[in-house]
Symmetry: D3
Subunit: 305 residues, 6 copies
C-alpha cells in the first residue's frame, strides 16, 4: 500500500513543506485512492466556545505521517443549512467512488450533513459516537440544528441503524438521569464514562463491537471525550474525562469493523496550549487511518484465500 506511506522525515524535516495532513499529497481528483482526509472548517453550530473553523489547519500543522489530503470542504460561515447542503454535495461524490472520507471538523453539527451523504450511498449505517455529551437535545434556543441536537436528528431522519449504534464517554454535571433515559428512548445504547471505567478498555471495546454487529459503521469522535488536561482546546470542556492512553487504546481495539466514514470534531485551536490538542487530534486521525488500512488488508487477505 505504497500510497499511504508518509513522507520520509529522515530526509525531509518535519517542519518543512506546505501543511497537508501527515504531509500526504494534496490532491483534488479522486482516482485510485481508498481514503482521503478533508477539513470541514465550520463552527456556526456551536452554542458555546467557537473557533473550530481553525481546527483543520491546526490538525494539519500537528500531523506528522500519510494518503491524500483533499483540502477543506467549502462551507458558508454563519449559515447552517446552506453549509449542510454544501457539505453533503461535496461528500457524495467521494463516497460514490468507494473512498472512505475522514473529515476534520468543525463543530459537531457537521456530522448530520456527513451522515446525510452517507445515507445516499449506503442507506442507514451503525454509529459509534465518542463524546462527553449525548448531543441529543430536541433543540437549542428554539433551533433544530446546533452541535447539541444532531444525534436526535439522525435518528428522526432515519440515517442510522439505531439498534446497532452506541454512545460512549458521557459525563458531567448537566445531565440528569432523565437525559440518559431519553437517549435510550431514542434507541441508542449508552456507555457513560463511569461505566467504561468499571468495564475497562477491553470489555468496553467488546460491547461496542457486539452492538455494531458487522454492520457498516460510521465513527464520530468528539475530542472532549478526553479530559481537558489532555485536550484543553475544545468548545465544551468537561472534567473527569479520559487520558490520551485510554482513548488511543480504545480506538485501537476497534480493529475488525467495517468502517465507511469518520469524523474528528470540536478541536478549538484558540484555546489550545502548546498545540497538545491538535497533536492528540492528529494522532487519533492516524489511528482512524490505521483502522482503514486494517480493513483493506483484511479484505485483500480474504480475496486471496
Amino acid at each position: 500500500m505504497e500510497k499511504y506511506q508518509p513522507l520520509d522525515p529522515l530526509v525531509y524535516p518535519r517542519f518543512c513543506g506546505v501543511r497537508t495532513f501527515m504531509r500526504l499529497p494534496f490532491a483534488q481528483n479522486l482516482k485510485g485512492i481508498d481514503f482521503l482526509v478533508a477539513g470541514v472548517p465550520f463552527d456556526t453550530g456551536s452554542t458555546f466556545r467557537v473557533g473550530a473553523r481553525f481546527a483543520p489547519s491546526a490538525i494539519r500543522n500537528a500531523s506528522i505521517t500519510s494518503g491524500i489530503d483533499y483540502g477543506d470542504l467549502i462551507v458558508v460561515p454563519g449559515y447552517i443549512e446552506e453549509s449542510y447542503k454544501k457539505i453533503k454535495e461535496q461528500v457524495i461524490p467521494i463516497l460514490e467512488k468507494g473512498i472512505i472520507p475522514v473529515l476534520l471538523g468543525g463543530d459537531h453539527s457537521i456530522t448530520l450533513a456527513h451522515l446525510r451523504a452517507v445515507f445516499e450511498k449506503y442507506g442507514p449505517v451503525a454509529l459509534i459516537h465518542f463524546d462527553a455529551h449525548t448531543d441529543t437535545w430536541d433543540n437549542y434556543f428554539g433551533q433544530n440544528y446546533t452541535h447539541g441536537t444532531q444525534f436526535r436528528r439522525v435518528v428522526e431522519e432515519g440515517l442510522i441503524l439505531v439498534d446497532n449504534s452506541i454512545q460512549a464517554g458521557m459525563r458531567g454535571s448537566i445531565y440528569s438521569k432523565e437525559d440518559y433515559l431519553n437517549v435510550k428512548d431514542l434507541g441508542y445504547e449508552i456507555l457513560t464514562a463511569n461505566k467504561i471505567r468499571k468495564l475497562g478498555i477491553e470489555e468496553t471495546a467488546k460491547i461496542i463491537k457486539d452492538r455494531v454487529n458487522n454492520k457498516k459503521v460510521f465513527f464520530s469522535f468528539d475530542i472532549d471525550f478526553l479530559d481537558p488536561a489532555y485536550a484543553p482546546g475544545t468548545s465544551y470542556p468537561e472534567c473527569g474525562g479520559f487520558s490520551s492512553f485510554e482513548a488511543l487504546e480504545l480506538v485501537r481495539h476497534l480493529q475488525e469493523l467495517d468502517f465507511i466514514g469518520f469524523d474528528l470534531v470540536e478541536v478549538l485551536p484558540p484555546y489550545d496550549s502548546g498545540e497538545i490538542t491538535s497533536i492528540l487530534a492528529s494522532t487519533i486521525v492516524f489511528e482512524f487511518i490505521s483502522l482503514i488500512a486494517c480493513k483493506f488488508k483484511e479484505r485483500k487477505r480474504k480475496k486471496l484465500n
Copy 2:
C-alpha cells in the same frame, strides 16, 4: 449626575465584585436612566476569526469605572436573521424610553439590527463608522448578512442619512481603488487611514463633525481601527493602524454631537494577550459615556438659559 459615578475603588478593590461594566449597578428595569451598556455576544456573522461572543464578558472584566449594566441581549448563536430580530426587539423598548444604548458586540454584523431599531424610533440618522474596512461588500459566499456587508444594507434599507455619514480608518491590502469608489457611490464620505494621518486628529474631527452637521448620529467603532499591536484580539487584524493615543484623542474631539447610539465591536478575547484589547475597548466605551455625559450637560445648560 450621581447615577453615573463609579464604585469608589479607594474603598472597594477593583478586582472585587460580580463583573458589570465599570461595576455599574446591574439592572434590567429602564426607569430614570439616561444610558445603559449592554452586551450583544454574537459572532455568527464573522467570516474569519470568531470568538466575539466572549467580548462583552471580557470588556466588563477589564472595565473600571460607572451607569447601569443591562446584561447581555439574548441572541441565537448560529442563526443570523433570528438574532437580528431578537436584537431589534430588545433595543426598541430601550430607545422608546429615550435611553442611549451602548452595545458591546459581538461581530460587526449586529450594527444592522441595532440601526433597524434606531430607525423605528428616530427614522434615518447620521453614521460615524471607525474601522479598517468599509464592510460594504454586496455579499459574502452568496449571503446578504455577514460582518462584511452591513454598511451596504443600511443604505439599501434607508436606515441612515448617507449624506451625513462618514467612514474613517480604512486601509489594508484587500482594497482596490474601485472599492473606495464603490463606497462613494453608496454615498458615504470616506477618510482612509493615510488621509487621516495627513490631516491630523483635529482636522479629521472637524471634517467628521461638518459631515454630521447636527443630525442625530450613531457611532459604530470596530476595534480594528487600531493597529494589531494595540488590539491583537480582533477578527481581521490589519497592520498599519492607529495607536491608542490617536484613537482616544479622535473620539474625545467629537464632543458636541447629538449621539443617539453606540456600539463597539469585533473584540475577540481568545486572541487577546494580557487583556490589552479588552482594556482598550473598555476605555473607548468610557469615552463614549463621556460623550453622552457632555450631551446631557449641554442640554441642561441650554434649558437653564
Copy 3:
C-alpha cells in the same frame, strides 16, 4: 428546590449574561436560601505565586449551572489581619441565618478567618482538608499568618475538633518524615497521596467519613490536590497529584456528611491555560453544592418519616 436550578442553557446561551456563579441570581439579601456562593479575592497570604485575587471572577466565568451568588466579600489587599477581620464579620451573618457559605478563594490563608466565623456560630467543627501541603508550619519569614500556617493556627485557636479532622493528598519534595509526624502531633490524621493511591477512592472516603464521625464538618479544598497537568493555575504546583476523575470521584463519595461550610482555594488565573483550572474549580464547587442538596434532601426525608 426550584431555587437551585440553573438558568436553562437551552434557552439562554451559556456565554450570555453578567457572570455570576452558575448564572445564579446575584443577590445580597439572605432571606429564604439554603446556601450561597461568595468570592474572597484575597492573596496577600501567599508566599510564592500570587493572583488568586482574580480567581472568583475566573471561576464564575467558567461556571455553568445554579443558587444565589453573593458577590465578593470585601478584603483589604496587602493587609492580612484587617482582611481576616472583615471576612469574619461578613461571614457571621450568613451563618447566623443557617445558610451554608461556599467561598471561592483567594489564597488558603482565608480559611483561618472563615473558621473563626464558623466557630462563633457552631463552636469547634470537624475539618476535611484536601491539599498537596499540610499548611501547618509554625511561621513563614517570622510571621504567623500566611497560606502555609493556617492549619496550625486553627488547632491552636481551638477552632476545630482535631480528633475528627483529616488531611488528604499530601506529597512533594519539601517534606521530611518529621513534617508528617508534626502534623500528627497536632492531632490530625493524614492521608498522603501515596497512601490514597494504595487505599483506592472508596476506602479513602470511608476513612474520612469514619474520622468525621457525624460531627458538623467544614471542607477546605486546595486546587493543588490535583496534578499541575489538570490544574496549572495555582500558587505552589506539586507534581504527582490526582486526576480530575479521581478528585471528583472522591468528593462524590462524601455524601452523607453534615457540611456547614466549604471553600475552594489557590486558583490562580494568570497561570491557567485554556481556562482548564477554572473549569475544574467550578466543577468541584458544583459537587459541593450537590453535597449540600443531598444534605437538605436527606433532612427533608427524615422529617417526612
Copy 4:
C-alpha cells in the same frame, strides 16, 4: 571603567549562564563598585493585579549586557511595614559606601522604603517620577501604605525636596481635574501625557532638568508610563501611553543630573507576552546605568581639569 563591561556575547552565548542582570558578576560584598542592581520582589502593596514579585527574575532573564548584581533584597510577602523596614535596612549600607542602587521592583510602594533609606544618607532629594498615575491618594481601603499612596507619604515624611520634584506621564480616566490640583497642592510639578506630547521630548527634558536644578535626584520609573501595547505586563495598564522610542529618548535626554538612586517598578511577568515588557524594562535599566556612567565620567573629567 572595566568593571561595567558586559560579558562578551560573541564568546559566551546570550542564553548561557545563571541569570544575573546583564550577566554582571553576582556579588554581595560592596567593595570597589560605583553602582549595583538589586531586586525587590515585593507586591503586597498592589491594589489591583499582582505578580511583581517575579519581576526581578524576569528582567534579569531579559537583560543582555554589565556591574554587579546584588541579588534580591529580602522582603516579607504579605507584610508591608515589615518589608519596608527590611528594605530600608538593606539599602542604607549600600548608600553608606557611596554606591548608587538601581532597584528592580516590585510594586511601586517600595519607593517609600527606598526614599527613607536615601534620606538617612543624603537628607531630602529631588524626585523625578515617570508614571501613568500620580500615586498620591491619601489612603486605599483605609490603609496608608499601598502602591497608590507613596508619593503623598514621601512629602508628608519630608523625604523629598518637593519644589525640585516633578511627575510626568499621567493620563487615564480615573482622574478629575481636582486630582491634578491635589498633586500641585502637595507641591509637585506635573506634566501630563497630553502636555508632554504637546511639548515634545526635548522641551519636556528641559523642564525636568530645570525643575531638578542640580539637586541630588532620585528617579522612579513605573513601567505603565508606556502604553500597554509596549508593556502589557503591568498592574494598572492605562491606554494612550508612550511608545518605547519616546520613553527611551526622554530618559537619554536627562544626562547631566546628579542621580543618587533609581527604581523600575510594576513589571508583572504573568501578564507579559513574548517577554516584551521584561525586555523593555531591562533596556530602561540599561539607560539608567548609562546615566550613572555619564555622571562618573563627568566627575572624572572635572577632577582632571
Copy 5:
C-alpha cells in the same frame, strides 16, 4: 496579470484550504511565472532565540491574498554549511528562469546562501537591508557563519555592490560608535533608527533609492526592524523600533527599483502573540509582491511605448 490574483475571499472563506501563501496555487514547476514565494525553515544560525523554522508555516497561515507558493526549500537542521549549499542549489534554477524569489526565513544567516545564488545569475547586486542590527560581526563563538555575521561575509565574498548598498533601522544598546564606523569601513551606508526618525519616511526612501542608483537590487528585511510591540515573535527584539505604519510606508516608497530578490527573516512563531508578527510579516511580503508587480507593469509600459 491574472496569475497573481488571490482566491476570492468573498466566495471561499479565508480560513478554508491548505495553507499556501495568500492561498496561491501550490506548485513546483517553474513555467510561465514571474515570481514565487518559498519558505526556508532554517534557524541553526541563530545565536539567541530559536524557532524561525516554524515561520514559513506561520506566515502562510496568516497570509490572505495571491502567485505560486513553491513550498519550502529543503534544509539540514543543525548543519549550517550543508544547508547553505542546499539553499543555493535550489535557488539557482529559479533565478535561471528569470523568476524573482521571495524567501520566507528562517534566521538571517540564510541571506548569505541566497546572495551566493543571486551572484551566480547576476553577479554582484545592490543590497537594501532593513534591520535593528548590522549583522557585520567578524565571527560569533569563533564561527564564521551565524545570523550576526552574514553581512560581512557578503562583502568579503564580493557578492554585493557595497557602494550601492545600504543598511537601515539600526539601534540598541549593544553598539558602540566603533561598530557603526566598522560598518562604514566595510563600505555600507548606514541609516540608524534615530537618523530615519529625523529624516522622515520620504527623505529616507529618497536616500535609499539614490544609493541603489538603478542597479539590480536585493531586499533583505529582518522583522526586528519593527518595535517588539508590533513584532514580538522574533529572535533579538530591540526596543525603540518602528511602527507597522512606518515600516509599510517606507517599503511602499521604494517602488521604482529593479528588484531581483527578497527575503523576510527572523519571525519566531513560538514567541508571537495573537499571530500579530505573522500577520505583519505576511503584509510586508504582500508589499514585496506589489513592488514586483510595479516593476513588471513598468517594464510592460516601456515596451509598449
Copy 6:
C-alpha cells in the same frame, strides 16, 4: 550532608534571589562536593521543535530546593561537533574529581558528548534511557549527529555496556515492528510504554535493575517519556505517555544503583504553559539528587560496618 540542604524557604521567600538550581550556591570550583548541576543549553541537534537552549534557565526558575549549581557549560550554537567537543572537555574535569554531574539539556544529542566524557573516566557504563523514542536512527537528513541518532552512536563508539543497557517508554505512530527489532539488534533491551503498563511500576523497576546488574550506570531522561498533558514543553510530543505520578514513582524505585551521571533533556520553555513542564523537570532532577544522596549514604553505611 549539610552541603545539599536547600535554602530555607521559611526564611527566604521562594521567589527571591538569583536563580540557581534549587537555589544551591553558584560556584565554579570543584572542591569538596559530591555532585553538581550544570546546564547544557544546546539545541542544534533538534530535528523538529527547537528552544531547548532556554531549558536550563527555565528549570532553574522552577526549581525549589539544594548542592552547587555550576552554571551552564559553554556551547557553540549552530555547530554540533564543536559543541560536543566543548561539552566533553568541560565534563571530564568534573568526573576526574569523582563528582557526579547532573546535566540539564539541551536537546538529546548532548548525551553522546556526555557519554564520551564518561568513557574517558570510567570506560563503558550501563545506560538507562527513558524516552518516547529510541533515538537509534542511523542518520537524519544524511547527518550522523542529531537528537535522533545518538543511541546508535554510543553503541558504535563502544561507550556503553549495551548488555546492561535498557530503553523504556517507547510508543507512538512512527515506529514499525522493524524499528524495535532494530534496537534489539543493537543489543538494547526495550520496554515499550505498553509493556510497562502491563508490568506495572514495581516489576518494571525490577527488570531495569536486573539488567543494570550493579554496573556503573548513566541515566538519561527525555521529558517526552511523559504525556504531553504533563509536559507540553518538549520537541517531539508523543500522546499516550505516562503521568507525573507514574514517572516519579518509577524513578524512586531505582534507588540502589551505582549512578555516575544523569541528564534531563528536551524541555522546551517556549511551548510550556504555566511552567508545568519546567516544574516537573525540576522535580525529576530533585529525584536524581535523592538517588545520589542514597548512594552516598549507602556507601557511608558500608564503610562504617
